[in-house]
């Protein structure tokens, strides 16, 4: 009994001293690893327009940046109606007490200047309670047409300073824009900002296109198209829209994905009904066969260090997830729960593998460790499919298709804890999202 009390006391003391230490020295920080239950409140007062031309941009920039932060589920915005102070001059000292009074833990101030088509955005981040700046102020310069990217860059900097993780907002998503009735869907390859803005269509709707994926620098997209009459893997430059069939594809090819260094592509080739995984050299087109089982071996994805490939195979009956050396050879099954597992994608952090799970007539997006342990299902619906990772490995996008004769797909995002699920609005139906890394 005595011992138990002593243990209890020492635990309390340790906890108390830890808290004291934290209060003294730790910068404002929110942990995203275990899932954020209480988002951190921040204020982002309207960025100061330093000239008349900057007014419109100041308002839009502030809005998009706040949407990024709120959309992550990690932060909560204190609405401007509650603000006591206004920021009218970027360089005037901040009245911390006014922001503390409305419980804003973080304060983001900014200023915008526009001359011609040149846009200059400055911002600072403050820890309100400690009354100190968090990191240096930053200034971004760009053309006015890329103003949204400036917002995303500011949001990435804020996210990074407050979470200790890299951000993911200044990124794009390649996806398949779908229109028309379910039996005769028209599909186009499309590109958008991660938040659904700036949609561009890269192909017409004449041929079925599927499963685009970005090259590491996001300048090229590899995807499956039926434009020759049967499925073939094409490589397209996003700027010129020039495209070519990658290497020698004697028969059907699908499920392509780049290696982390961008020099190779793994994909499935189907010969006489048997689908196997091949590696194709992007420059030479030379291909190497990596699997040779009578099973359907598909959906290959590299580990971030390029040494391993995770893929799905039905060699043991139903679809399951396997890992093999990137040079091929023996594969080890890692999925071991009930149901079927497909579309494995290795996290850019290297720690997790995202997948689609089919069990008892329901589809789930989930994550597991690379040894198959600690499986966690993040979503459930009639049809959830095709996860793709954010640049920082903390969020996944996927598509959700509704059931029935009018069933149609939409793109969603969910964080790896499963707490923050959001629809990404697109002008048409959307499927097969592929998320780029942070843009350069």
């Amino acid at each position: 009994m005595m011992k138990r009390i002593l243990t209890f006391l020492s635990t309390v003391l340790t906890a108390a001293s830890l808290m004291a230490t934290v209060a003294q020295s730790a910068p404002l920080r929110i942990e995203v690893t275990q899932g954020v239950i209480e988002p951190m409140p921040f204020a982002a007062p309207l960025f100061v327009a330093e000239n008349a031309a900057a007014k419109k941009y100041a308002a839009d920039l502030t809005k998009v940046l706040a949407n990024d932060l709120v959309g992550s589920g990690v932060f909560r915005e204190i609405p401007s109606a509650a603000h006591i102070s206004k920021i009218t001059n970027f360089n005037t000292p901040v009245q911390f007490s006014d922001w503390k009074a409305i419980n804003a833990q973080a304060l983001i101030t900014g200023a915008v200047n526009v001359s011609g088509n040149k846009l200059v955005v400055k911002f600072r981040l403050f820890d309100v309670f400690a009354q100190t700046p968090l990191g240096d102020g930053l200034q971004f310069v760009a053309t006015t047409s890329s103003w949204r990217r400036m917002s995303h860059k500011v949001a990435d900097a804020v996210y990074s300073r407050l979470t200790g993780e890299t951000g993911y907002f200044d990124s794009r998503v390649a996806y398949i824009a779908e229109e028309g009735p379910k039996g005769k869907r028209k599909k186009r390859l499309a590109l958008m900002d991660y938040d659904g803005a700036n949609v561009r269509y890269l192909t017409n709707a004449n041929d079925i296109v599927l499963s685009p994926r970005f090259s590491p620098n996001a300048r090229e997209i590899i995807y499956t198209s039926y434009e020759t009459g049967s499925p073939r893997v094409f490589l397209m430059n996003v700027d010129t829209l020039k495209r070519r069939i990658l290497g020698d594809q004697p028969s059907m090819a699908f499920a392509p994905r780049f290696s982390p260094d961008g020099t190779k592509v793994v994909m499935s080739l189907s010969e006489r009904g048997n689908s196997d995984v091949y590696m194709v050299d992007v420059a030479s087109g030379n291909k190497t066969r990596l699997t040779s089982s009578p099973a359907i071996d598909t959906a290959p994805s590299f580990s971030p260090d390029g040494k391993w490939i995770v893929f799905e195979s039905d060699r043991s009956g139903g679809q399951q997830i396997y890992i093999m050396n990137a040079t091929g050879g023996a594969a080890k099954r890692i999925s071991n729960g009930n149901g079927r597992y497909g579309t494995p994608v290795w996290s850019p952090r290297g720690d997790l593998i995202a997948f689609t799970k089919l069990n008892k007539g329901r589809f789930h997006i989930g994550v597991m460790r690379t040894d198959g342990s600690r499986e966690k299902l993040l979503t459930a619906s009639f049809l959830d499919e095709g996860p793709t990772w954010s640049a920082n490995g903390r969020v996944l996008m996927f598509f959700r298709e509704t059931a029935g004769v009018n069933g149609a797909p939409s793109i969603y995002s969910v964080d790896v804890t499963g707490r923050v699920l959001r629809k990404v609005n697109t002008p048409t139906y959307g499927s097969d999202p592929a998320w780029s890394g942070l843009l350069e």
Partner: protein, 168 residues
């Protein structure tokens, strides 16, 4: 595209780049299992396309996740093989499909497997390999669009699409 230009007092300047920012088969290639360019004719004329499609049956169905031929499928493929042996001016494309209850890429593999199962049987029955092409549509071209087994069973199919041979 971002260059760090200057670091002054507490402001770091970053600049973002200002400029940043074939072999089509004679079928219609849409996976609908229909033919173009050939007159369908009458279902009672054994040499007609309509006879092939409607009287013999141009499609075989599969069980969930399976590509093995059912006895019924074998019967239909026997009819198709006999017709093709009689009507040698035609080539065919066997299009494999899957229902929506599967992931896209796996279903492409499954469609390929189903098309191949039908093709292999036709070859066994004496049809020249080079008269038969296979194609997979996965779950991209459902024939029936409800989300119940009634529709799914119609979508798990391999459709033999007849086309005119080159030079015929």
């Amino acid at each position: 595209m971002i260059n760090i230009l200057v670091k002054f007092s507490t402001l770091v300047i970053l600049a973002v780049g200002l400029t940043a920012c074939g072999d089509k088969f004679n079928g219609n290639g849409n996976g609908n299992g229909t033919n173009i360019g050939i007159q369908p004719g009458s279902p009672s004329d054994p040499t007609s396309l309509a006879y092939f499609q409607q009287t013999i049956g141009d499609r075989v169905l599969f069980a969930v996740d399976q590509s093995t031929l059912s006895p019924e499928a074998v019967g239909i493929l026997n009819g198709q093989a006999n017709w093709l042996l009689q009507n040698t001016q035609y080539v065919v494309s066997v299009e494999g499909h899957a229902d929506e209850q599967g992931t896209r890429e796996y279903n492409l593999g499954l469609g390929a497997r189903r098309a191949s199962a039908a093709r292999d049987y036709l070859v066994d029955r004496g049809i020249a390999d080079n008269r038969i092409k296979t194609l997979t549509y996965g779950k991209e071209r459902p024939l029936a669009v409800c989300s119940t087994e009634e529709c799914w069973s119609q979508n798990r199919r391999a459709v033999t699409v007849v086309g005119a041979a080159l030079g015929s």
